[in-house]
Every structure is written in C-alpha cells, then in structure tokens.
C-alpha cells in the first residue's frame, strides 16, 4: 500500500517536443489531486509516467511505502489503476468477460464475484453486461473503464478526463466514488476540465502549463468550484 509518491524533477521529451520540464510534485495517501491545465500542457504525459508505462527522459518517480522506496516491478503495477481516454477494454468481449480477464491478470481472488460487484457499483445495466463492449454508449464504456481501474483495489488511482460522457448523475456518483477511495487511503490523481465535478473531493490542486508546474497547493478543507476556477484562471489564464 503506497503512502506517498514523489515526482523528482521529471522531464519528458518526445523527439523535439518537450512535454514536461523538471516537474516536482508530492502526492500523499488519502488525497485527491486535481491535475489541471490547458490542452497540451502535459497532464496526460505526467499521468502516463505515474502509471509506469511512460519512461521519463530525466528525473525519477519514487513510490514510497512509509520510508521504503518500492521497486518499479510487476508487483508495483498491481497497485496502480488507470482510467484513460480509451476504454482499455476489448470491444469484442462483454463487460463481464473483460473484467474477469483483467481479474486473472491482476491476480484478484474470485474475479467473477468482484466483477459483478463492481459493475453494480458503477451502475452498468444488467442486460448490457452480456453484450459486446463495442455496442456500448460512451457513458457505458466509461463506467466499465472505471470498474476496470478499481478491480484490484489500487492504492494509486489515475484518471484521465473521467467525467466526459457522463451525465449529471453519473458525474456526481463518480465524484462520490473518488471521495470514497480517498477515505480508504488511496492516492487519487484526476486530470479533468470539469472543475465543477471534481470540486468537493479535491484537496490538492496542481496546474501544469507548457510542461511546467505553475501551481501546487493543498487545502485539507477542500476546494470549492469557485476556488478551483479562480486558481485556474490565475495560473493558466
């Protein structure tokens, strides 16, 4: 179980394009960090680096368990859940089959039961569960992707624009779910443009502009929508 993540002067360059420049950031357990910024600021890249899929071209990321630095190996990845732009699920398989497959990969005990429980929790309709995922609407795919991210009870939960495609009720439910993960002690990082949806659970605001960290603020009392909007406009114009 991760207690904190330390991003140490991380840079990422794709050929000539510099996506991130010497970013320093600390994330702690039991908090939700809203990672904001204009398009192309490097938010998805930073998320990719945190997920261990993308290699930083400079700097390191420390995954700390108490004082101990964890090794970047297969077992670390079991503690990380990602919800990305794409569904990360197989279109030809049904929701249940997808979750059961990933449950096997993640070594989740009793994958079938866990899959059913999660699908109930994210509100994926009973009949839809046995249809191929490629027949789903955007909102349904989002719900399945969330279930997939939560499958192995990750201590680091990374979400990339999770509120797109969700209706008002879905957005509120997702916000509540993130709050619950935070209460359970997870580290949650959420990239989003939907400030209204993320306000209320956020206690850590990080704003990336042009690959550099323009704002890094914490407030245990949380941030209101107005507060987030104000921070955003100050730093990201």
């Amino acid at each position: 179980m991760l207690s904190s993540i330390v991003v140490e002067k991380v840079s990422k360059r794709y050929g000539d394009h510099r996506a991130l420049a010497a970013v320093e950031l600390t994330l702690t357990a039991g908090s939700v960090c809203a990672l904001l910024g204009p398009n192309g600021a490097g938010k998805s890249t930073l998320l990719g680096i945190l997920s261990t899929l993308v290699r930083a071209t400079a700097g390191t990321v420390g995954y700390l368990e108490g004082d101990r630095r964890r090794k970047l190996d297969d077992r670390l990845r079991a503690d990380i859940g990602l919800l990305a732009h794409s569904s990360l699920c197989y279109g030809e398989l049904t929701a249940v089959e997808n979750l059961e497959f990933f449950a096997t990969l993640y070594g989740v005990a009793d994958g079938a039961a866990r899959a059913r429980t999660l699908l109930d929790e994210v509100g994926l309709d009973g009949r839809a569960r046995d249809r191929a995922v490629r027949t789903y609407s955007r909102g349904m795919v989002q719900r399945l992707a969330l279930a997939r991210a939560l499958l192995a009870r990750p201590s680091l939960l990374l979400l990339d624009e999770p509120f797109t495609g969700l209706d008002r009720g879905g957005a509120l439910a997702l916000g509540a779910r993130l709050g619950q993960a935070k209460a359970d002690g997870a580290i949650v990082v959420c990239v989003t443009h939907d400030l209204e949806a993320i306000a209320g659970v956020t206690d850590h605001v990080a704003i990336l502009v042009g690959g550099k960290l323009a704002c890094d603020e914490r407030d245990p009392a949380g941030y209101s929508y107005a507060a987030l909007r104000e921070r955003y406009h100050t730093h990201a114009g």
């Binding site: 030809e92 009870r153 619950q180």
Partner: protein
C-alpha cells in the same frame, strides 16, 4: 452550494462490504505464469472467434495464393506436384505475416496493449500468450492450405498426411515464435508495417527451407529425408525459442 460538501465515509451498512473494502487489504495472490499465458492466449482466441476477421482474411488470402500459384504450374490440365512445397509454404508464410500484423494492430487500435502492459502480468507471459494464439491461427490457415493443395495437385498421401501435419505444426510454432518477438520489438517503431516482413523473412529462411524440403520428401515417399528435415525444423524451433527468451528479457528491461 452544489458540490461543496465533502462526501463522508459511507456507513458500514449502507454500502456492500466489498465496495468499502479498505485499500490496504489485498485479496490478490501471485498467479502462475502458465495460467497467465493461458489467459492471454484464451482471450486472444476468444476475441478472434467473435469477429473472425483475421481468421477469414488469412484463410482467404492463403487460398487465393494456392489457387493462383498452382494454376501457374499447370500442364496438360494437371498441376506439377513438385510445386506443392513452394506453393503451400509461400501461402502459409504470407498469410501468417498478415495475421501477425493484424493481431498486434488490433491491440493498438483499442489501446488494449497498454492495458496488458499496465497489468502486473510479466511481459514474457503476455507475449508467450500471444505466440500461442498466433501459432493456433497459423495452424488454422494450414488446415485450409493443406486440403486445397492435396486437391488441386491431385495428391493422395494416405497415412503420410500425418507426417505432413507434423511438419506444418512445427513450422507454425517456429513462425509464431520468431514472428511474435519481432512484432513485439516493432511495437513502438514507426514504419512497422513495412519493416515487419523485411526483418522477419530472412530469419524464417531455415524454417521455410526445412519445411519445403520435408514436404517434398513426404510427397516423394522418402521417409529418411523427411524425418531428417522434421528434426531440423524442431531444432530450429528450439534454437529460436532459447534466443527469443534470452533477448526478450534483455529487450524488455529498458
């Protein structure tokens, strides 16, 4: 104000127990590598069987090659039996390459490759699973090519067909091993569609050579030669399995 209140931790009886399970309590257990390989291979095949897109493409392509090329060897309304090995193996290798490229392409399209790499499953298990799936796809194509060749070239082998099946299966394994390693290495490279055949085919040469020689020997009822080439093909499979396992770990540890 909307969204202002921080949601409190849900009361224990309001939410099902497994949902509010503390993050720290892990129910995960280490899963055997073979089980993972089987899971990945099974998933690949399940996905393929649902759409059958790659299967039909490969099979039809192979069938067309067999028809077209065997026709070019026709004389007096009969096709030259000496052409069978070349025609059959050309069809298998070309169709196999298409299937190989398509299989990896499909993972890229849905971004599911990322999902696999993100999981704690060892990279080796993932690619071994893919190798198994591709070997089975190639065997399926061979199941189309073999009867067609026997039909068009008017060949009656009797029990020797089983030897031929063995040759084809060993060839499929060799193709799958070398092909998957190279396709995996090409994952993040641009121009990968063109480069895959360019890098793959020279390495496949000994497999194609021994496969065609074995096929020719079986057709000529030359058992001694046939078994020699079958053993050579098996040796090829072993050698490149070892090389693939060794280089794979080194290539993956970035």
């Amino acid at each position: 104000m909307p969204g202002r209140a921080l949601p409190t931790a849900p009361a224990a009886d309001a939410v099902p127990a497994s949902c509010s399970a503390a993050v720290g309590r892990r129910t995960t257990a280490p899963v055997g590598t073979l089980r993972l390989v089987a899971a990945v291979a099974g998933k690949d095949l399940k996905v393929e069987l649902r759409s059958r897109e790659i299967l039909y493409t490969m099979a039809l392509f192979a069938a067309v090659i067999v028809v077209v090329f065997s026709f070019s060897f026709v004389k007096d309304q009969k096709a030259l039996v000496a052409a069978v090995p070349g025609v059959a193996w050309a069809a298998v290798v070309f169709a196999g390459t298409i299937g190989l490229g398509r299989a990896f392409e499909r993972e890229r399209e849905g971004d599911t490759m990322r999902a696999l790499l993100l999981s704690p499953a060892p990279r080796l298990a993932i690619f071994a699973g893919k190798t198994v799936a591709i070997a089975l796809l190639v065997v399926a194509v061979e199941a189309v090519v073999l009867p067609l060749c026997l039909l068009f070239f008017n060949v009656d082998l009797g029990a020797a067909v089983l030897d031929l099946v063995l040759v084809l299966v060993l060839g499929a394994i060799g193709f799958a091993i070398v092909g998957t390693v190279f396709a995996a290495m090409l994952l993040r490279i641009q121009s990968r569609d063109v480069l895959l055949p360019v890098v793959l085919y020279p390495i496949l040469v000994p497999m194609i050579m021994s496969g065609t020689k074995a096929t020719a020997a079986i057709l000529a009822a030359n058992d001694a030669d046939a078994w020699f080439w079958i053993k050579f093909l098996a040796a090829y499979d072993c050698v490149f399995t070892i090389v693939a396992l060794w280089t794979f770990e080194a290539l993956v540890i970035e």
